[in-house]
């Protein structure tokens, strides 16, 4: 499985896709600075999901172009590992985006001469919502990708991304006082359940797919 992550890393490095991370960070700075509901929720969720989507879309596009779904399973690796590597990469992207978001937030705090304290930096509601949005998006997209291939899913990916952001943005407005540890734990549990269910589904699809 780690051989596949190494392959993904090589492709992202070679195709300059890593620089999307820098762009994402540059976009985050002004977005984080403005404190309106819209910028704090919709726009941040959108940027988060969009950056994760770009990484996934680039890799799947290269797999499609170079017929990797045929030659990778011929290597000494199981299809379960192939699928697991995709989910693991999504998880790494999540952590990377989250780290960048918090770095952006810390910079803004420092710029406003405020101390960087845990309560100001970490927002349980924000992390929880983003995780739900993220897991919802990838739980739908990855099995769809294995079922229908890149060509058929690329537009679905866009629609799913916008829907996910809209749904989670609305949830933020509905749930009363979500900035609590219980909310984060519930969000993590729900998200992980979705991802686990989706993972098992994707493995089944790939194992039965006529590549």
């Amino acid at each position: 499985m780690f051989s596949l992550l190494y392959r993904d890393f090589k492709i992202l490095k070679k195709t300059w896709t890593f620089y999307f991370g820098l762009l994402y960070f540059l976009f985050l700075l002004p977005v984080t600075q403005k404190g309106s509901f819209f910028t704090q929720t919709y726009l941040q969720y959108f940027l988060f999901i969009y950056f994760s989507y770009l990484i996934f879309a680039y890799l799947t596009a290269y797999d499609y172009k170079y017929n990797a779904l045929t030659f990778i399973p011929a290597l000494p690796i199981t299809k379960k590992d192939i699928v697991a590597a995709r989910y693991l990469l999504a998880g790494i992207t999540f952590l990377l985006c989250l780290t960048l978001q918090h770095i952006a937030k810390a910079i803004i705090l420092l710029k406003d001469n405020q101390a960087i304290i845990f309560n100001q930096l970490v927002n349980y509601a924000h992390i929880g919502m983003i995780f739900i949005a993220f897991s919802l998006f990838f739980s739908i997209i990855i099995p769809l990708y294995y079922k229908l291939d890149y060509q058929a899913t690329r537009w679905v990916m866009y629609i799913a991304m916008l829907l996910t952001v809209a749904v989670t943005g609305m949830l933020t407005g509905i749930i009363p006082n979500p900035n609590q540890p219980w909310f984060l734990l519930t969000a993590l549990g729900t998200g992980l359940f979705l991802l686990l269910f989706s993972f098992r589904f994707s493995v089944r699809i790939l194992e039965n797919k006529n590549l």
């Binding site: 392959r7 090589k10 170079y66 045929t70 399973p73 011929a74 290597l75 000494p76 199981t78 590549l211």
Partner: protein, 296 residues
Amino acid sequence: MDPVLQLINLEKTYDNFKLDKISFKLERGYIMGFIGPNGAGKTTTIKLILDVIKPDGGQVLLFGEPSTNAIDIKERIGFVFGDNAFYEFLSAKEMAEIIARFYKQWDWNLFHKYMRDFGLNIKQKIDSYSKGMKVKFLLACALSHHAELLILDEPTSGLDPVFRSELMEIFQHLIAAGEKTILFSTHITSDLENIADYITFINQGKIVFSTEKDTLLEQYALIKGGSQVREKIVNTGKIQGLLNSKVGFSALTNERNWFIKNQIPGILIERASLEEIMVHYIRGDKENVQPALQRL
């Protein structure tokens, strides 16, 4: 000792194609030519062997063990897909670094040796290689983890005759030590005339024959003659395929000795090449041959 590769009643059904209970085996140290026209089921069979797709029935045994989810067994296999040279925007070195991580037995010294032997620049991007160079690169990757079984899917397709003959020499050299086994799928049968030990012929998802090449070329013959003896030849019931022309006919038989012994006047008995065998089987006039066979 178990055969390196054994297919037992392997089945796979698609909407418009069926691989119909195919069986054959390949012993260690031999080259098997896997021939058939485009769309006959060669690539599907290879994908089943490599566990890329799941069979609907039957079994693939590699080194005596079932191939499903067998990572350790795949370590002992090298493959070349003629139409696929991995991620071509990477350099050969970068791609090899990716491939190397999948194999415990990957040998960088061996890889560099093959790259040198094949005249390939390791720093060059794969997409700047010619078609033949890409095949050589794939072959270097397939050989650099000490694979015992090489599975080659149309490696010579689209290559010029000089490059093809060079590749054949490489295969012959590889097989000389007797440790490697090669399954070589192709529709360019002339590539196999000199190097293959066994020939397996697949047509429309069914195995027509799987036998030693020398026996095959001994048994099969082309019977040629004018249209006046055509009926007589067909009525022998020993014809597998018949091609008609304006001046006569050309018929394929797998009972060459019978025709030599019976000396039918007005015919010419010639050795059949693999290509001729394949063409007569596929294009042979079934309307004329079948009634004769049914009378048997």
